[in-house]
Amino acid sequence: MTTGASAAVTQPVPARAGIGLRAVHHDEFLATRPAVPWVEVHSENFFADGGRKLEVLDAVRRDYGVSLHGVGLSLGSTDPLDPAHLKQLRRLVERVGPALVSEHAAWGSVQGRYLNDLLPLPFTAEALDHLVGRVAAVQDYLRREILVENVSSYLRLGAGEMPEWVFMTELARRSGCRLLLDVNNIYVNSRNHGFDAGDYLAAVPVELVAEMHLAGYSVVANGAEELLVDTHDAPVTADVWQLYATAIARFGRVPTLLEWDARLPPLVELVAEARKADAWLQVPDARVA
């Protein structure tokens, strides 16, 4: 991987809690300038030649750290990487100079048809080889490191050959990326697929984790079982806060993003929710990563 050739980073993303900045909050955010250290935006929402959204992002980046979080690259697809998508992403990276750029260990398209969703990969050697090559290609194209996030899932595409945490760790080691560890997704998957979330955290090497995500999930009655769905439409639950505390104890202070994408609360409530994560990060014995 080649590094360091993109635009100068504007503001850093510190090891504190940021918020996902969504369009419904753009005007209020600029008017009130809330005291959050950094924001994350979805990259694809800014794939534009000009216009209001880019103006907003230009204004935000002057005072806040920015993370560009992609949801549409379909990293794990067996289709060729979309050159138009990559080109737009690189142009945005060069314009914004984000401290972090991230995507998902998932796929959402094949044979030119897109679901615009994050589907899980089978945890097989074949899928791992494929994803390693794709992540490396994206990093080479962007000329920088990307972070790759574990996703929530509701089914498995076959029995698999390794646990999810081995798959993610090997992905990072072999591609040179680091991990965006979504604590909520780990919890959701642990409940949906029956593993110990603590085993997941304990198995991931500390040095590979560069960011964490927190979000709310929904419980859907699925016959006799309760299925957890990663809806990003509610406050973080107590059990996920507890898992987050375990994660901080292991990985130290890591930039943490409070995700909220549906049924968005007023901006002030979103900021308050992020401050809860900040309080965890400020615990005196939290190790600085």
């Binding site: 398209s109 074949e126 509701y154 299925l227």
Partner: protein, 261 residues
């Protein structure tokens, strides 16, 4: 286990076309009664994400149809035109033609033109910024012998529409009727309309054009040089006072510059 590509193709079909995983030889887990509902999460996401993005891009169409009918339209449209990229913005591109074909000849044929207008708005919203203003001195500096070959540049956000139905009033109604209420207007009567859409500092601007103005600006947008515009004047297709009309559109910021050679 089948190769990754085969698995992905089958799963996409199971989610998008709602086919049975067993018909693809897929061994999805959990392999019991829970699977169908778990698949339902992905099937619902595929429909809902698509429909929500379409509703956001076509708010007037949603007001015309109502939320439930728009969702039905979105499902039919998605079956015919699955999302072509990882950027949900792109899903609306084929909707005007699709809707036009669906409603053609019926009382709601005008909805195709509504969709064309809203797609033009979408394009204008993300088109390049441009602070250039037309500079008469630049034009004066062009030798007379080169006038025929020079062409004009329009602001990058300008979109021109010739519609078979009068959609301008429907657009205005959207912005005056309270949110969540149906548009209380009679169905429009077929009547050609010419429109200019552009983005200004104040947001999206829509204005009616005379047919001759539309045709002139469309010719400029198509790259026609001044010599060809003069030919259109001779043919009576564009305004006879060409110089004054060009100056008016330059003052309005619609024409932003010239290109020579």
């Amino acid at each position: 286990m089948p190769a990754l590509r085969e698995v992905q193709a089958a799963v996409l079909d199971v989610v998008l076309r709602r086919t049975d995983p067993a018909t693809h030889g897929l061994a999805l887990l959990p392999a019991d009664a829970r699977l169908d509902r778990r698949l339902g999460v992905y099937r619902t996401n595929a429909r809902e994400n698509f429909a929500a993005a379409l509703a956001a891009a076509f708010p007037l169409l949603e007001r015309e149809l109502g939320a439930a009918r728009l969702r039905g339209l979105a499902a039919d449209y998605q079956d015919a035109h699955p999302s072509p990229s990882g950027n949900l913005f792109d899903i609306g591109r084929q909707l005007p033609a699709f809707l036009g074909a669906q409603t053609g000849g019926g009382p709601q044929e005008y909805l195709g033109d509504i969709a064309r207008l809203e797609w033009a708005v979408q394009e204008a919203m993300v088109a390049a910024d441009c602070a250039d203003r037309f500079d008469p001195a630049a034009l004066a500096a062009v030798p007379a012998a080169a006038h025929e070959a020079l062409s004009f540049r329009l602001h990058p956000t300008v979109r021109l529409l010739a519609t078979a139905w009068p959609v301008f009033a429907r657009w205005q109604a959207l912005h005056t009727a309270p949110a969540g209420t149906p548009l209380e207007q009679e169905l429009p009567r077929r009547s050609t309309e010419h429109l200019l859409v552009r983005r200004t500092a104040g947001g999206i601007e829509l204005q009616r054009l005379a047919a001759a103005d539309h045709d002139l600006l469309a010719a400029i947008a198509g790259g026609s040089p001044l010599g060809d515009l003069a030919d259109l004047v001779q043919a009576g297709a564009v305004p006879a006072d060409l110089g004054q009309v060009l100056a008016r559109w330059a003052r309005a910021g619609v024409i932003t510059g010239i290109a020579t050679g």
